[in-house]
Amino acid sequence: MPAVEAKGIGFSFGPLRVLRGVTLSVERGSVLTVFGPNGAGKTTLLKILAGLLRPSAGAVRVEGVELSEDPAAFRKLIGVISHYPYLYPQLTGRENLEFYARLYGLRQPKTDARDMLETMGLSSAMNRQVSGYSRGMLQRLAVGRALLHGPRVLLLDEPFTGLDHEARENLTALLRTLRSDDRTVLMTTHDLDGGLDLADRVAVLSGGSLVVDLPAAGLDPAGFLALYDEAVAKGRALATGGQARERGRVGERGRS
């Protein structure tokens, strides 16, 4: 059974179709990187997989659980690292993690929060308000927040954005550890180097369609770049064709 399974995911904002029948599956303990240009629908796809948005069509299963069947179990399986840290600036690092630990129903919120701060190398700053943290510290605390409840699946939205070299290296090392720990990672990015480095499979989302989905083994950055450009153009053509067909149908309805 795949850890993440999405079938025919569609999503529209009013007349704008953001996702068009996206189907993907991620095997347990593997990393899938979804590449795509700005506006391709990557963040929307991730929000749907995380249960933050309801798709207009299709269904998502995480470890065999569907959101509508058991929302709490579904959410406990997932950890999300977004562009935003989801941390309260007026609270300290410890208070932030304790808050989330309680909401995730952990038995020992104080101990678990303290242990996670230690793992993330933030013990010395745990009693400082998060508003005084550097970007790198915030990123580490955000990762700690996402891993606090021991999720089986980690969803990452542009995780390398705004990180310096050291923070990037640390995040990459952590993601490798997670993979070896049999956790599943699904990451969206337009950072070719960072995304390719970690991936077991790569996919390209363009114009709301998943136009490429293949194993990452043997792919070199230069070769993938050519493939990526071609895939982006194909996705855009599909989206434009779809819109033209849609306009045609509207026109026909108008004449009849």
Partner: protein, 225 residues
């Protein structure tokens, strides 16, 4: 049910802690209430025929402005760093999130109202006694209604740029029945009228609060989705 209440209380505690650390918002709320009481004190004459009526208006105006600020603030901290998304990712019932936010707003608006009432009592020479305690009870009912309506409205307007203005436009018309009840009660409690002048207004206010809390509890899921 028990887990839901525990989650709600966790959210309330987090809101109280965050707001108390951002002390400027709390100070602004209380000062605004004091200022309204002070300014109106120059234009109302103690012991005049319409004194109870005028004082009643001053009290609710002084309560309402900081109260609206309090409910508006309840989603401000969630908008910073998109924390609302982080909250929605947690395995927590949406009703518990609403309840937690509502309790936070209720505590802040009632606490600021309490301070305003003390200032009002001193400045307008209101007698302390059972009627004063009853006035505090009426204030609690208004704070509960404001928190119930305001929390849902603040969630609706959380993603809008002019959310402050929009929140006021949404909340005030819905609060009119509650404010009519509050004004009727306070006229009785601040004037020479006997207790039976209160009639069924406190009951009406309590029903209003329960009704809007139930509506907010049910609709919150759709609003945040």
């Amino acid at each position: 049910m028990r887990a839901g209440l525990a989650h709600a209380w966790t959210i309330t505690k987090k809101d109280l802690r965050s707001e108390l650390r951002a002390a400027s918002a709390v100070i602004t709320m209380v000062l605004l209430g004091f200022l309204v009481v002070l300014v109106f004190s120059f234009s109302t004459e103690a012991g005049s025929k319409d004194s109870a009526l005028a004082r009643s208006g001053v009290l609710w105006a002084a309560f309402l402005f900081p109260g609206l600020l309090a409910v508006g603030r309840s989603f401000e901290s969630e908008k910073e760093a998109q924390c609302l998304e982080g909250l929605l990712l947690c395995p927590v019932d949406r009703g518990a999130i609403y309840l937690g936010k509502l309790l936070g707003s209720l505590i802040f608006s009632f606490a600021s109202g309490f301070l305003v009432l003390i200032f009002f009592t001193v400045l307008y020479d209101v007698g302390l006694g059972l009627k004063w305690l009853a006035l505090l009870g009426v204030m609690f009912l208004v704070a509960a209604g404001l928190a119930a309506v305001g929390t849902l409205s603040a969630a609706i307007t959380a993603g809008v740029r002019a959310r402050g203005a929009l929140l006021t436009v949404l909340v005030l018309p819905l609060l009119v029945p509650l404010l009519i009840g509050a004004a009727r009660c306070s006229v009785v409690l601040l004037g020479p009228e006997p207790w039976n002048g209160l009639g069924l207004w406190p009951v009406f206010m309590a029903i209003y609060d329960v009704l809007f809390m139930a509506v907010g509890f049910v609709l919150f899921d759709y609003v945040v989705e």
